[in-house]
Each structure stands twice: as structure tokens, then as C-alpha cells.
Symmetry: C2
Subunit: 314 residues, 2 copies
């Protein structure tokens, strides 16, 4: 194994780049803007330029670099081709091969960003020591990365781990962004929790939540919940936790992972959130899956970069 590896997590606005030792230490991280103009044709050359500059600055030889891992916000086929990535403007782009050429033959692997984040958490974060895990990312939506025997499960259409679109309520009348109704994401994402909160508050007159200025957020709900004596906040969190805990108990019957790692912005609420979800999971879980653990993600926004590096170590 060579000494260094690069992790590149491409987002719609910025690319996060990291220089790692292949033992798992993040040595340095920096960002460059994502130039999505002209169907994103400059993204990979901008990345190559930045990586080359960093190698020059740190006096790192090409022969000391194991490779470059890339995460991106869309499905990636096993051969490194991106069929379509709306946020970057890419279509049928052979990302791995193109960056490989731009970097003078350096090894490149690419995968979906939710999946590399899961891989990162398995390698150096909340799932450390496990080879079978499910990472659930509670952000604007509900993302998920599934790792089986140390490998990402991308799915045959890149829809592996799209648990945000499991139907959890067949009686929902309001549509999800996907056009269907009753998706997990409608209740367990930051947006979903805020929606549950608005529904609860429409029926309540006494709640510290009512004093929130501007729009009710998932963060506000958990902040008030953690203070401990607001019944409405408690009711909202219980509803969220029951829906997510039940959904994870169904996932457990299918995949039987060692651990569920919970990440994303909403997970900053920390242990009280984890405890609430786990309580409902335990109530609902199939007995063979009793030993499954719950853990908080530990790498924050760096998880993707870590996972990118892990990609090239395989």
C-alpha cells in the first residue's frame, strides 16, 4: 500500500478535497468551487489542477499516491460511468477514466456520495470495525448507504439504499417530491420533522415551540425536546422516532446489519434522537435482529472524503 490517497467529494456547489494517509489519517482538507457551467465540463480538470498543486506544495510524488476516490451526487455504475447527474450537468460521463487520464494514469474510483459517506463511517467513524452496516442520513431528505461484507450496494439502477422512498404510510394524502405518497422522507427528514411540527402546533396552544421566530425547524424541535418539559416537542419527536424506528426494523429483516449509523444534519441532536429511534426499533424488531446496534455518525461532512479514500484501498 502506498503512503497517500486523495478523497474528492463533489457537491453541487463545492468540491471537498482531502489528502489522507492510507492508514486513515486526514492530513489536510480544502475546498474548490464546483463549476457546473457547460454541462460541468471543467469540474474534473479543476479537480486535477488542485490535486496537482497540492502534490507539488507537499512534495508528494505520483508514485507515493495509491489513488483518488470520487463521490458524487448521483448514481455511478460499477465501471465508473455516471449515466446522469443533474446537479453537475453530467450525462454518460466516464468519470473514473477521464480523471485517470487527467492525472497521468493515477488510479481513480467513483461512487455515489451517500454510499461513500457510509463507507467512510465504516472505515473511520460510527461503524468502525463493522463490515455490514446501514448508514441513514437525515438531512433535507433521507439518504442511505448500505454496506454488505465491506462493499457498497449500489443497486442495479443506482437506487440501492433509497430508503427515503420506502412507503411507510399508505394513507398519506400529501405527495412526496418523488410524486408518490407516504415516503419515509416525508416524516424523518429535516423537512419532514418540520412538517410534523407544524401539524402538531396547529392543534396546540401551549408549547415553547410557538415562540420560535420564523419557520419551525427540525433543530428547533429537538432543542426544545432536549429541555425536557414541552409536551408538543415530545409528541413530535415520538412520532418521528416511531416512524423511523419501525422502518429500520423492516430494513433489519432484509439486511440484518451489525449496526445502524445515523448521520446528517438532523443527527446533530445527538443521543436523545438516537435513544428515541432505538426505543421504537427495539419494540418492533424481529428477534433475530436484537443484537443490531445504533451509533451516531462521527465524521460529519468529512465522511464522504474518508469513504472516497477507502474506495481506492479495495
Amino acid at each position: 500500500m502506498k503512503k497517500y490517497g486523495f478523497g474528492v467529494d463533489i457537491g453541487g456547489t463545492t468540491c471537498k478535497l482531502g489528502l489522507f494517509e492510507t492508514t486513515g489519517t486526514l492530513l489536510e482538507k480544502w475546498e474548490i468551487p464546483t463549476d457546473t457551467s457547460n454541462e460541468g465540463e471543467n469540474i474534473l480538470s479543476d479537480i486535477a489542477k488542485s490535486l496537482n498543486e497540492k502534490m507539488e506544495e507537499q512534495i508528494i510524488q505520483k508514485d507515493d499516491v495509491e489513488g483518488i476516490g470520487i463521490g458524487l451526487p448521483g448514481p455511478v455504475r460499477r465501471d465508473g460511468v455516471v449515466p446522469v447527474c443533474v446537479n453537475l450537468g453530467w450525462k454518460n460521463k466516464h468519470v473514473a477514466k477521464e480523471l485517470e487520464e487527467l492525472m497521468g494514469g493515477m488510479r481513480v474510483k467513483a461512487a455515489n456520495d451517500a454510499n461513500v459517506a457510509a463507507l467512510g463511517e465504516m472505515w473511520q467513524g460510527g461503524g468502525r470495525g463493522c463490515k455490514n452496516m446501514v448508514m441513514v442520513t437525515l438531512g433535507t431528505g433521507v439518504g442511505c448507504g448500505i454496506i454488505i461484507d465491506g462493499e457498497i450496494v449500489p443497486g442495479s439502477n443506482g437506487a440501492g439504499g433509497e430508503i427515503g422512498h420506502m412507503t411507510v404510510n399508505r394513507h398519506e394524502t400529501i405527495p412526496c417530491n418523488c410524486g408518490r405518497k407516504g415516503c419515509l422522507e416525508q416524516y424523518a427528514s429535516a423537512t419532514g420533522i418540520a412538517r410534523l411540527a407544524r401539524e402538531h402546533l396547529a392543534k396546540e396552544h401551549e408549547s415553547s415551540l410557538l415562540e420560535e421566530i420564523g419557520e419551525i425547524s427540525a433543530k428547533a424541535v429537538f432543542d426544545v425536546y432536549k429541555d425536557g418539559d414541552d409536551e408538543t416537542a415530545a409528541a413530535i419527536v415520538e412520532e418521528f422516532a416511531e416512524i423511523l424506528g419501525n422502518a429500520l426494523s423492516n430494513l433489519a429483516c432484509v439486511l440484518d446489519p451489525e449496526v445502524f449509523v445515523i448521520g446528517g444534519g438532523v443527527s446533530k441532536a445527538g443521543k436523545p434522537l438516537l435513544d428515541a429511534v432505538e426505543k421504537y426499533y427495539r419494540k418492533a424488531a424481529f428477534s433475530s435482529c436484537d443484537s443490531i446496534r445504533f451509533a451516531l455518525a462521527a465524521l460529519g461532512n468529512d465522511a464522504g472524503m474518508y469513504g472516497c479514500v477507502k474506495l481506492i484501498l479495495e
Copy 2:
């Protein structure tokens, strides 16, 4: 690759044994009783004796056999150890190693029977040509084998693919065999379909199903359904198909397989059953999973033996 392989599917009553060419042709199959006396201590030596006799009879040298694959009705760890198998009386048994010794060093691999059946259907049956598939077995219960990138997903506790215990109805009052309520198995197994039928018939006075002698069965429901003009049978099948189709749409978001292969005794109802389930799947499915196909299992009770042989080819 050597010319021959043996597949041994161990059941609680009989062991099915098959001599295969490693190209996938079943040359001969036979059965021996499963002797579960004394904690099943004779099962493996009985199998070894039968395999040795067959090799002698067919004048097959040990060097011409790639190995022996075993399927059994319980969880099997990756190292070939069976932690517990109630139906065979085994506990902490290193099945692979023991049979290997009994067969003079021949290669042996072992896995769960539902999982090897899935592998068999992928190799030579309804999932031929696919590497990502979910096989759903509708029998007394609802079994399932998950294959990702050509490999079985056993789960960290051997509960991978236990989709029969996904909760599909949180309002169910009658308990499942597992002690929980509202499991898929309570509606989509042979027993479950018969139960749905009894519920429907309790409210109906006109149905050809009422003429069935003795106990109402899933087979009777589908037989009458296929005749085409019994409203009660149609209502029962629609209810079953909606529950199973919805559950598979949730599975699709998680695993995104290429194909769902439907097998087990109930699947003998054939295309009308497949069409009904697929109709509800299409209604409920996440758009990225639209291309997933449905197929009937093709190998019947031999699927396990086929999968056992596939195990040793890896």
C-alpha cells in the same frame, strides 16, 4: 474447473442429493432420509457414504469433483459453522469442515437453504443472467434469498432476507408465529392466503370457494381465481397481491435488484399470480426501480441443489 460437483440440500425429513456437471447440468438426483436422532450426529456421515457410493457407481474419481455444496434449514456463518439448527438437532457444528474430513479433503461449502435456492435460480433458473436478485419463496411461510453482485447476503445474524417478518400491517391483532403482529408472512404465505380466504368467506354467501371440501387452501383460492368469475376469489387474490406488491416495492428501494423471482408452492399458481403481484408493485414502485422484472422460479424443489453446486464454483 473440474468436471463434476455435488449439491446436497438437507431438509428435516430427507436430504436431496444431486450430481452435476459444473457447467450447470443436473446428471442425476436421489434422496436419503435425514436421521435427526442423537442431535443429528449421523446426517453428515450418511451423506458422505451416499456420495462415495455414487462416485463408485458412476466411476468418478475424487480429482474430477470440484466440491460439495450444502444447503440446510438454518443460519450458516461465513466460516461454515452452524450456530444452531433446530430441525436437524445441530448446535455449533462446523458442517463444512466435518464433511470435508469425511470426504477425504474434498472442498465443502455450506449456506442457508433459502439462500442457496436463490443462488440456484440465479444460476440456472428464473434469474439466469442476473447478478442482483431477490428470490421470494411463498410456502408455509415467506422465505427469501438475496443475491447482491452474485453473492448471497446472509446477514450478520443469519437473518438476511427474512422478509416474511417485515411488518406490513401495524393494526393487525392476530400474532404471527414470531410473536409480533402484522408480518408479511401472515398474508402472503400459503397459510396466510388461506386465512385471508376464511375471513372473506365469513362475509360471503356466494362463492365457488364455499364448495371446497375440507379446509380452504391457497391452491383452492388460485384455482377458483383462474376460472375467472368468482368475485370472492378475486378479492382475496387482490388483497394478497397488494400486500406483497407493496412490500416488494419497499424492498426495491433498498436493494434495487434486477429481478424478483417468485417461487415456493404458492407460485405454482403461475402467471396469474405473478401478474397480480406485479400490477400492485408497478403502482407502488419508486420510479428508479421501474425496470425491475418479475419472473417465476424455474427449478422447483431442485433449486437448492443447483445453488449448492454454484456455491462451490465461486
